[in-house]
Symmetry: C2
Subunit: 128 residues, 2 copies
DNA sequence: CTGTATCCGCCGCGATACTG
DNA sequence: CAGTATCGCGGCGGATACAG
């Protein structure tokens, strides 16, 4: 039976790997989750920044731009002073955030089992 | 209503973020998926390497070591010549791979919508 | 308030060569 | 077959200062 599995593709540019890349960009999932957590599905820059403790302005804007280019969200500028910019989930983004919520929930369900993962990051640095 | 949301935590060391880190390690999910795709839930080093086109021996071993430390899989050494090593999903790994399969399936379902994501990586490099 | 422009350290990851 | 040891680069991401 194992002889039948063509070892699954995992080609460099296959769809599943592109999804994984979405997850591997540090702030993408958290931004989507924040947008999703608001009933409007939208949020202004400042709200996003405050919801993501530790993110720098640079990374916030850069990640938002990338996400816009990826079609995960849209950017709406209110031409007023001071400027007001709102980010909103696209249909694709709304579908993807479903996955993010699954990951989020899984993490909460396995919080205790995940505690030991902390030793991982440190073990390699201590033991060259 | 929005005043009630405490902006969700996203603390540096919260469980969901640790799950995201699991996903952000380039090869982790693919290794788990390969193990899961075999009825035995186990595979030898060579099998894993062949199932992951492009991975280097170094990254394969390094990632496997990290995953072992994280409790996602176990390593069994057959003391024979030439050596035979088998990696096997742990209960935690088996539960996590469920999430991975969800991501994998989502990617296949949205393959066409994901095609435009390719332009993302290139657009920033072209337009400084 | 939102966004841009630099500078720069860290480390993830790959290439290569060598060992038992 | 499985694993270790080096070397090196690209780029993610943080700090800081400036601008409309």
């Amino acid at each position: 039976m194992e002889v039948m599995t063509p070892e699954h593709e995992w080609r460099e540019d296959c769809a599943p790997r592109r999804v994984l890349e979405l997850f591997s960009t540090k702030w993408t999932s958290m931004i989507l989750h924040t947008l999703h957590s608001r009933h409007s599905g939208a949020a202004r820059t400042g709200v996003l920044q405050r919801s993501l403790p530790g993110i720098s302005k640079k990374m916030l804007v850069q990640t938002l731009r990338d996400m816009e280019a990826s079609g995960l969200l849209t950017r709406h500028v209110e031409s007023v002073v001071p400027p007001a910019v709102e980010y909103r989930l696209t249909p694709l983004g709304a579908r993807f955030v479903g996955l993010v919520e699954l990951v989020y929930g899984w993490g909460r369900d396995h919080a205790d089992a995940l505690d030991q993962l902390q030793q991982r990051a440190t073990s390699r640095r201590r033991n060259p």
